[in-house]
């Protein structure tokens, strides 16, 4: 694989973008930061599939495409299957000698939001990973169905306000914890699984390159701060993501072959989750006296999760 240099940002910036502007994503959307970075990690040809969602409806609205590579969208749930169908076709045609350029290196990648990854497309993702296709699935996790106006998904954290799990006089927002999809995908035995964040561009680029280089199915969850539904100023996307990783709400780590866990970012100064929650409109109600217990619960969950990750890293299990 022709990986590009990520030694430093200057080197990295010499790559020629294959994700074009004038897409319709919101100003300040982290989705395109993540997608651009993945596409800039390699010079190989890419076959990309996207589930229905913010990324898809913003980058392929007839008569425009923002993709300089082969790209396919079928439905909300089946990007993993679409791209692995293409991967199967690649193998068949390579064997039969019907490819136009059989030596051209190619990587297969699927993108989905958390709604299509954690919820409606979960079975398709699980099946594609179980079958062992050589592809990388990247979830752009903004913790809600942002494309349809911010409904809850199983990736929405406890306490967040969404339009279908609202905060009100009788509710503190979503009642259930976020699904631990990274652990679930690692349990599939996928050779490379990671949770990455765009503010830590280098660890994200390294993770993407590892996934693209690794033969077999790889899964990466990326935190994608959503200015519209998390309710913060578009200019603050990276700042907000810093708060997410520094509060350990989004720990950055990888799991190799289902057991070798490596923490990829250890904040020098771990901040209280209050600082992260307080920077977003979707958690504003948690600062009312009657909801303080939810913040305490979230902090407790974070602390326990971080302790667990560190124990797993040490124990290699």
């Amino acid at each position: 694989m022709a990986i590009t240099s990520i030694k430093n940002l200057k080197e990295f910036s010499t790559n020629n973008d294959r994700f074009e502007g004038a897409h319709l994503l919101c100003p300040g959307c982290a989705h395109s930061m993540i997608v651009r970075e993945l596409m800039n990690c390699t010079d190989d040809n890419l076959v990309i599939a996207s589930n229905t969602g913010c990324l898809e409806v913003s980058t392929a609205v007839y008569p425009y495409t923002s993709w300089d590579t082969s790209w396919i969208h079928i439905g909300f749930e089946n990007a993993a299957t679409a791209v692995t169908g293409a991967e199967a076709m690649y193998k068949a045609r390579k064997k039969k000698g019907t490819l136009k350029d059989p030596d051209a290196p190619v990587k297969f990648v699927a993108f989905g939001g958390d709604g299509s990854t954690y919820d409606i497309g979960f079975q398709w993702l699980s099946g594609a990973v179980e079958r062992g296709h050589d592809f990388t699935y990247v979830c752009l996790d903004n913790e809600n169905y942002a494309n349809t106006g911010g409904q809850r998904s199983s990736a929405t954290p406890i306490g967040a306000h969404t339009s279908t799990a609202q905060a009100g006089s009788a509710s503190y927002g979503k009642k259930q914890k976020k699904k631990d999809l990274v652990a679930i995908m690692a349990a599939h035995g996928a050779p490379y699984v990671a949770q990455l964040a765009p503010n830590k561009w280098k660890s994200m680029a390294k993770g993407f390159q590892k996934a693209l280089e690794t033969e077999g199915p790889c899964f990466i969850n990326t935190v994608s701060a959503c200015t519209t539904e998390w309710k913060f100023d578009p200019k603050d996307t990276i700042h907000l993501t810093d708060l997410a990783t520094d509060s350990l709400m989004f720990p950055v780590y990888e799991i190799i072959d289902g057991h070798e866990l490596n923490i990829l970012y250890r904040p020098k100064n771990v901040i209280k989750v209050e600082d992260y929650l307080g920077a977003q409109g979707r958690y504003r109600h948690l600062f009312k006296p009657e909801n303080k217990h939810v913040i305490e619960r979230i902090q407790k969950d974070i602390d326990e999760n971080w302790a667990m990750l560190q124990r797993r890293e040490e124990a290699r299990i």
């Binding site: 940002l9 200057k10 080197e11 990295f12 910036s13 010499t14 020629n16 973008d17 294959r18 994700f19 074009e20 502007g21 004038a22 897409h23 319709l24 994503l25 100003p27 300040g28 959307c29 982290a30 989705h31 395109s32 930061m33 651009r36 970075e37 010079d43 980058t59 392929a60 007839y62 008569p63 425009y64 495409t65 923002s66 993709w67 300089d68 590579t69 350029d101 051209a104 765009p198 561009w201 200015t227 100023d233 578009p234 200019k235 603050d236 996307t237 990276i238 700042h239």
Partner: protein, 150 residues
Amino acid sequence: MSTGSALASNKRGIRELGAEEMVGWDEVQQGVVLPSFEGDAAGIVNMHAEERNYADFNSYTATVASWRVIKPVYNRDICIDCQNCWVWCPDTSIISRDKQMLGIDYDHCKGCGVCVEVCPTNPKSLLMFNEAEENDEALAGWPQKEKKAK
């Protein structure tokens, strides 16, 4: 819409979204398939945008400049070419060539302001201004270095 920033190819941002010709059923693309380029595009990964032969279907040929109410202005004199703005721009609108920041693609910039926030220099090499303000005026009134609060 282009305000003459560096390296605009002749097809960049030539149309407002929605201003394209509304052809009839007999002329739309079979299967809704959109080719991204004209001609052989095998080498595009080694080509800068201005060297590529974009198809009219590529959103590179469209502009979203009208989305913007505020815009980033770039001050070359202060920039250290760290490329923070390049890596985090969500709209592929920071034009960098050979490790140097050259300017802003105003056809595709939506004015989110992320580039300004991630700019590490003091004073910043990128600042947001009202869309109507001339870049020259903005540069003329650029703030001085701020002393860090102790």
